[in-house]
């Protein structure tokens, strides 16, 4: 799995490509926790557009980061979730906990301006 992290204004944009399973979830957790600790950003956006597979380990690592950031007063959103992971985000409840957006621009606006989310589920 490829993990690309960039700063977009006050938002930490995390772009994931490939397969997010338990093996890669561990790497993602370590990398993200280091990045989040080293930057003052209060908002994190996960762009899942490049994912070809995700199981409950992926759900766990995204929820875990959400809980951590939310507890510290920050905000989290997800965008461009592909159809191949829609069933798992629905059944696991992930899409009801974290705001989901089809477009990255809408998610960024939501995080930067506090605009309401358009939930898909």
């Amino acid at each position: 799995m490829k993990i690309e992290i960039e700063q977009r204004q006050a938002v930490l944009l995390v772009r994931l490509t490939g397969e997010l399973d338990h093996h890669h979830a561990e790497q993602l957790r370590e990398k993200l926790d280091r990045e989040i600790a080293s930057r003052p950003s209060g908002a994190v956006l996960f762009n899942l557009g490049g994912l070809t597979f995700m199981d409950s380990s992926g759900v766990g690592v995204l929820l875990g980061r959400y809980r951590k950031i939310d507890a510290a007063g920050g905000r989290v959103a997800v965008c461009e979730a592909p159809a191949v992971i829609s069933r798992i985000t629905e059944i696991s409840g992930l899409a009801r906990i974290i705001p989901f957006f089809d477009r990255e621009a809408d998610a960024l606006q939501h995080l930067l301006l506090g605009l309401p989310s358009k939930r898909r589920f």
């Binding site: 397969e19 399973d21 338990h22 093996h23 979830a25 561990e26 957790r29 597979f53 199981d55 409950s56 380990s57 759900v59 766990g60 690592v61 929820l63 875990g64 191949v84 069933r87 798992i88 059944i91 696991s92």
Partner: protein, 149 residues
């Protein structure tokens, strides 16, 4: 349909890099039934959950063996994932959605729920101290079968 019964067995070490390998092998085996993309995705996810459980829970910090057996019979795919790890003390609790014995590892507690939802039949047998076997069955509604009917 009797002649269409076939079987495969895969034995792997409980290493996380084997999760992708296991689910791809079962998906490739199931491909003989001409599944849809959604069905392939469901099978891969369910196998991934079962193998991940064996790695994280059954063997914890040790490396042990995981055996994956799969059968094709008519349009039915059966997958069994067996380990010889610590076993599950309270199966009922383990099957509850969101329950996890390892919250510190960011486990979502959704593994069994996902296996149940993504496959048509799901059962788990476990003996504490001896091991666990998860059995899952999925009916493949392939395009060619639909045409025959």
């Amino acid at each position: 349909m009797g002649s269409s019964r076939t079987f495969m067995k895969l034995e792997i070490e409980s290493l996380s890099e084997n999760e992708a390998f296991a689910r791809v092998v079962v998906a490739a085996f199931a491909a003989r039934l001409d599944p849809t993309l959604e069905e392939i995705s469901d099978i891969k996810t369910a196998v991934s959950e079962a193998v991940t459980n064996a790695i994280i829970h059954a063997y914890e910090d040790k490396v042990g063996l995981i055996c994956i057996r799969s059968y094709l019979d008519g349009n039915l795919l059966t997958v069994e994932v067996e380990d010889w790890g610590i076993g599950i003390d309270d199966l009922e609790k383990a099957r509850e959605p969101l329950y996890t014995s390892k919250p510190e590892l960011d486990r979502s507690g959704m593994g069994f729920t996902i296996m149940e939802n993504f496959m048509d039949e799901f059962s788990v047998r476990s003996a504490p101290g001896k091991g666990t076997v998860v059995t899952m069955v999925k009916e493949i509604r392939s395009k060619s079968k639909v045409k025959e009917n």
